[in-house]
């Protein structure tokens, strides 16, 4: 059946059954963005995840983002109920979720409406939608359908009505549980996905379920595939360029989990919290067999304490949480810094403040991570920008924690946590995972804080080492870990702890500017926004704008050379998924304006008059929005 423009009357006329088309027309594109939306509970997410993983495994550039409702169980057929997944695939690597969908699989018109209202659908978007509602026996539903179609009119959306339920009923009695596989089958035909891989993925995802369940799902998959083949007159081809090196596909939380194992850490103490928990779910599954432990503590305070106890007694341990949990760990982080305890803390940022938007992305824990602990508590804060870096940074974090006897906070976010992306398969070496405990005797009187007066570095002593007995304390102490209140001793301890950051900073490389090293505008970001920012910068440059961008990975200490880089641009603008006052808002002056967190940090650091743009939409930034912002902030721009 041919996609047709929506109109209030037109749909009503259309026939439900479809005629066999004569050979599909193939839409060949370098990239395409698909959304699958259903009522929550209908499984659009599962469908999207499989489609995303398989696309990535076949070699398409891929980036997925989950669409999550606010309520536990929102009412069916209402906009707030929209649940699902966006999958952006391309011939080249894909680094972000893009702007708007080119094709949507909608389980009903209300969830479709939700996406439409959020501007998630591109002009001319192809929409395959469950057709049963249009002719539903319930008149209200038919009215809702009509109203929706009216609202959706005028955007050149191409509608294809699909009798999903009707079809599924030929295989299962509860289609609500099966539609998602039927839809997956359709997608497989449209995008020519490797159905064998898909069957494997399904088998794996349902491995804990009965064979019947698996078979039913496969049957629905096939049904969807065949239906599409019979009834659709178009296919989409996103050419695949097989990557030259071996690749892996996973989401950021999985990368954190496997990265933690690769780093040689063997204990993760945590307390469940969205969106961090899935990393520990994954670890719980595979860690024990490997020799590791996931300890679910009674709360985040205990989790931090248990991780610290484990680090104190042996290998560096880690804890993983999100905003509210970070808040509770504050006191223990101070202790870890004071006692120079190696510790890795992963904060998968979500929308704040307080409970905020538990399932949504935000980058507003930056300053709390750096400055949140009472007293002067120098420690390291780093932020991966991709799924691959989620993996790598765990090893880096553990090594820094160990070498510098300090706390390393890793800031990721909900976008990285749940998004799936392929990346080069990392090399794992035995070096760090081997790393046995050093329990060799130390000379009597070995100092527990044998500070190198220049670097502040020292080698720690571990319980079990004869001769090394000492009592660690969070009180001010001397190099012998003896409680001491003398002014000079307290000053010295502060110096030694702070010095380590200066030393670490000197081992860092200046970050690389994306684009020309000088120009009109430099956009600075950190964390998961890199892909969207760089895509926007590319487009801006194609428009002839003189824009480059810079992405930071170390926030404490900051990477070197920033001021020099900033000076080479007429204007510097930070872009964050975090709140900042707009400069033209009522009562807001240049003096009282509350700027973005990164902005604040960089202004203090470089004294450059950095401007900022921040939003808290609870979703990743779209390249088009960033491009719009760039246009507005160009030194010659109107803003």
């Amino acid at each position: 059946m041919t996609p047709s423009s929506a109109s209030t009357k037109a749909p009503a006329k259309k026939k439900k059954a479809a005629k066999k088309p004569k050979g599909p027309k193939v839409i060949k594109v370098p990239e395409h963005t698909v959304e699958i939306v259903s009522d929550s509970g209908e499984g659009a997410q599962r469908c999207g995840q499989i489609f995303g993983r398989v696309s990535a495994k076949m070699g398409n550039g891929t980036w997925t983002v989950e669409i999550i409702p606010a309520e536990i169980q929102p009412p069916a057929r209402t906009p707030p109920s929209a649940s699902g997944n966006r999958i952006r695939i391309g011939t080249k690597p894909v680094t972000n979720w893009g702007d708007a969908a080119n094709l949507v699989m909608a389980f009903n018109e209300q969830v479709l409406l939700h996406r439409h209202r959020l501007g998630a659908l591109s002009d001319g978007c192809i929409i395959l939608i469950e057709s049963m509602w249009e002719t539903h026996e319930d008149e209200d539903i038919r009215k809702e359908w009509a109203a929706a179609m009216e609202e959706l009119d005028g955007h050149n959306y191409k509608f294809v009505k699909v009798p999903m339920e009707e079809q599924c009923l030929t295989v299962v009695e509860n289609p609500r549980r099966g539609k998602n596989m039927f839809v997956l089958g359709m997608l497989c035909w449209i995008y020519s996905r490797d159905v064998e891989r898909v069957r494997h993925q399904i088998a794996h995802d349902f491995r804990k379920k009965s064979k019947e369940v698996v078979d039913a799902n496969i049957a629905l998959l096939n049904l969807g595939y065949e239906w599409a083949e019979k009834n659709l007159d178009f296919r989409v081809e996103v050419p695949i360029e097989k990557p030259d090196k071996p690749m892996v596909v996973m989401n950021g939380n999985q990368a954190i989990a496997i990265g933690a194992i690769a780093s040689g850490m063997e204990l993760c103490a945590m307390y469940p919290i969205t969106p961090a928990t899935s990393a520990s779910h994954y670890l719980s599954d595979i860690f024990e067999d490997y020799g590791g432990i996931v300890h679910q503590a009674e709360d985040e305070i205990a989790a931090a304490g248990t991780a610290i106890g484990a680090s104190y007694a042996g290998k560096v341990a880690f804890t993983i949480t999100s905003g509210p949990g970070m808040a509770l760990k504050t006191e223990f982080l101070g202790l870890a810094v004071m006692t120079e305890m190696p510790l890795v803390v992963v904060n998968v940022q979500r929308g704040g403040p307080s409970t905020g938007l538990p399932t949504k992305v935000e980058q507003a824990d930056l300053l709390a991570a750096i400055f949140g602990q009472p007293g002067d508590a120098p420690h390291v804060v780093m932020a991966p920008a991709t799924m691959e870096e989620c993996f790598i940074c765990m090893t880096t974090a553990r090594r820094i924690a160990e070498a510098f006897r300090t706390v390393v906070i890793v800031l990721t976010d909900a976008n990285l946590a749940t998004g799936v992306q392929p990346f080069a398969r990392p090399e794992v070496t035995a070096e760090w995972i081997a790393h046995p405990l050093d329990l060799s005797p130390v000379p009597e009187g070995t100092l527990p804080y044998d500070w190198d007066p220049k670097t502040g570095l020292s080698k720690r002593v571990i319980p079990g080492q004869p001769g090394g007995m000492y009592t660690l304390t969070g009180l001010a102490h001397d190099e012998n870990s003896k409680v001491a209140y003398q002014p000079d001793i307290n000053q010295r301890g502060h110096e030694m702890r702070s010095r380590k950051l200066a030393v670490l900073q000197q081992t860092l490389q200046p970050p690389e500017v994306y684009g020309p090293g000088k120009g009109d505008l430099l956009v600075v970001g950190w964390g998961s926004t890199q892909g969207a920012i760089e895509e926007a910068v590319d487009r801006a440059r194609n428009e002839g704008l003189s824009v480059s961008s810079l992405h930071l990975r170390f926030l404490s200490p900051l990477e070197p050379g920033l001021k020099e880089i900033f000076k080479r641009f007429k204007k510097v603008l930070t872009i964050e998924i975090g709140y900042s006052d707009d400069k033209d808002a009522p009562f807001v002056t240049d003096e009282n304006r509350r700027r973005g967190q990164l902005t604040w940090l960089l202004r203090a650091h470089t004294l450059v008059d950095i401007d900022c743009w921040g939003r808290v939409p609870g979703e990743p930034l779209r390249p088009a929005v960033i491009l719009e912002t760039i246009r507005g902030f160009m030194p010659n721009g109107d803003k």
């Binding site: 300890h295 305070i301 989790a303 304490g305 106890g309 969070g474």
Partner: protein
């Protein structure tokens, strides 16, 4: 991103075992508690115990919170962790979980354990790691200079309750017994060194979380809290049983004996909640409660085995 090589070159080296330790070998810094503070007696009893048990100092860890009582580790010559107020138990659990071979003691005050540490106290009792937990209960906040504690008896005047404590003191013994997996709950008094010793020995022998409440005098603020018990043996009641704690000499002085089977949980509750007497001895013991570090013990794999697992995992995500 930058990569860090190095770290210290590490070879697991054992320790020669033909060593022996005298009491002095367990003595750390000079104890700085007030003269007459009950903590001194406990410190001595502990050092005596370690000597008799010949626990290698380097394989022994004392974890504490914050408070007068929590200064304890500083006065031992073992490894020590003087951490945060109320948080001794999670830290001790972390130590034990990754280093089951270490002897782990947790020393807490009453505010430390029962007030700010209340949640950890309940849950560690349930995890049941093989740790000796000593609560030095002076019924007051000592270090911060005389505020009401959860175990302060009703009416006790303090700086935060100048007209006297508003509530009856809580009952740590009964509450500990009530927790699933509770495995060892005993009570002793700082004025009875031999009873402290016998109790701690029993606690050390017990495999699991041994909760020992020690009634502790604080001459500075609650000097008379246990005066009755000390003045009048009749106010004291010893819990006796073949599988309990026994100090024959004391049984001559303290004539109130109650025959109580530590396995009898319900009776333990009754004895813990019945007022009138200071009951000393073993309230409850269950040697079958699963021990956390054993429940959670994992295979120790070689680097090669680990690499293999890691690569197998990566394979699952391979393109």
């Amino acid at each position: 991103m930058i990569q860090f090589g190095g770290g210290c070159s590490l070879l697991g080296v054992g320790t020669d075992d033909d060593r022996s330790w005298s009491m002095q070998d367990y003595e750390g810094a000079i104890a700085r508690w007030c003269p007459g503070c009950g903590d001194h007696a406990v410190l001595t009893a502990v050092q005596r115990l370690l000597e008799d048990e010949q626990l290698p100092p380097e394989e022994t860890v004392f974890v504490s919170g914050i408070g007068c009582s929590s200064r304890f580790p500083h006065y031992m010559k073992t490894y020590g962790f003087h951490g945060l107020h109320g948080r001794a138990l999670p830290v001790a659990t972390g130590v034990k979980l990754r280093r089951p071979e270490l002897n782990v003691f947790a020393v807490m005050g009453d505010g430390d354990c029962c007030s700010i540490g209340g949640g950890h106290w309940i849950h560690t009792t349930r995890y049941n790691p093989n740790i000796v937990a000593i609560m030095l209960d002076n019924g007051v906040y000592g270090l911060t200079k005389n505020q009401t504690s959860p175990t302060s008896p009703q009416g006790l005047k303090s700086n935060t309750a100048p007209r006297g404590a508003y509530l009856a003191g809580m009952n740590p013994i009964s509450t500990t017994i009530s927790v699933t997996n509770a495995s060892f709950v005993a009570q002793t008094g700082d004025w009875l060194p031999d009873h402290i010793y016998a109790t701690l020995k029993k606690a050390l022998d017990h495999k699991g979380f041994s909760f020992v409440r020690i009634l502790q005098r604080c001459p500075a603020y609650t000097d008379n809290l246990f005066a009755d018990a000390m003045r009048d043996p009749n106010r004291v009641e010893l819990l006796l049983h073949p599988s309990g704690i026994s100090v024959p000499d004391l049984e001559q002085i303290y004539k109130n004996h109650t025959y109580h089977d530590p396995a009898d949980r319900v009776n333990a509750h009754r004895l813990a909640e019945e007022d009138g007497k200071f009951r000393l001895g073993l309230f409850y013991q269950n040697e079958d409660a699963p021990v956390y570090e054993e429940v959670r013990s994992v295979p120790r794999k070689t680097a090669e085995e680990k690499l293999e697992i890691l690569n197998r995992e990566l394979d699952r995500h391979a393109v």
